[in-house]
Amino acid sequence: MTDHVAQLNITEDAPPAADLELDCKGLLCPLPVYRTSQALNRLGAGQVLRVECTDPGSLADFPALARQRGLTLLSATERNGVQVFHLRKETD
């Protein structure tokens, strides 16, 4: 499950820079993954998407999305019930 989570020292104080931000707070499966997928289609190789979610399933779903689409999950953090993910698109 964790092999596509980059082992980087990213903290909440120093998150990766994002090219696009997406707010999926309040949405339930399948909408966070669906909207993330749509947003990724607007990005090019090497660009980073930041997504905020509140569906507790997202913590399991975003590593799966990264694995299935060949993305790199740069970070996955949770604070006060809000999960924040940074995904890097590797290919166009």
Partner: protein, 173 residues
């Protein structure tokens, strides 16, 4: 195509590193509101993961594609012990109880900002999900191709099985 011809690089292989896209084949056989959501949610998710998806809508499941009927799909309280209000099951047989259960589920979906069935079909279409309408059901129930949501392919079981033969995940819902 032989299964070996589209093997993936093992569990968890990155899709970008393989030639074949993963494929999901679903059979949607239920014409109830609660039976319509799971195949559409799975299809939208699989398409978001970059998979090819096809759904075969058969028997009452064909109502999910029906332009008029899919706006009126219902939840049956009778014989459904999972209703949130604990009443004797037989109460579900009273007139109006199906409407009550249906309104309740539509309320949950709206509050949760989940798309309704026509909106999910729009998502499926935009995502390239193949919608197979069972031709036998159409014949038996007198459904015409024009009655169905746009982008539907009329097909028999052989055409669906040909698609499903190369699927990585196949589910009967």
């Amino acid at each position: 195509m032989k299964p070996e011809a589209r093997r993936h690089g093992g569990t968890g292989a990155r899709q970008g590193e393989t030639n074949a896209r993963r494929r999901l084949a679903l059979v949607a056989s239920k014409g109830t509101l609660d039976g319509a959501y799971p195949p559409l949610i799975l299809a939208a998710t699989a398409a978001s993961l970059g998979w090819e998806v096809g759904i075969f809508f058969t028997f009452y499941g064909l109502d999910i594609l029906h332009k008029k009927r899919h706006k009126k799909l219902k939840v049956a309280p009778l014989g459904n012990p999972a209703m949130p209000i604990p009443v004797p099951n037989l109460v579900g047989a009273l007139p109006g109880m199906t409407a009550v259960a249906t309104r309740m589920m539509k309320g949950w979906m709206k509050r949760s900002q989940l798309p309704d069935i026509p909106q999910f079909l729009e998502i499926a279409r935009e995502s390239g999900v193949k919608l197979f309408a069972c031709s036998t059901t159409m014949g038996v129930m007198g459904v015409k191709a024009d009655d169905l949501t746009p982008g539907t392919d009329t097909a028999g079981a052989a055409a669906f099985l040909d698609f499903a033969a190369d699927a990585d995940v196949s589910l009967f819902v």
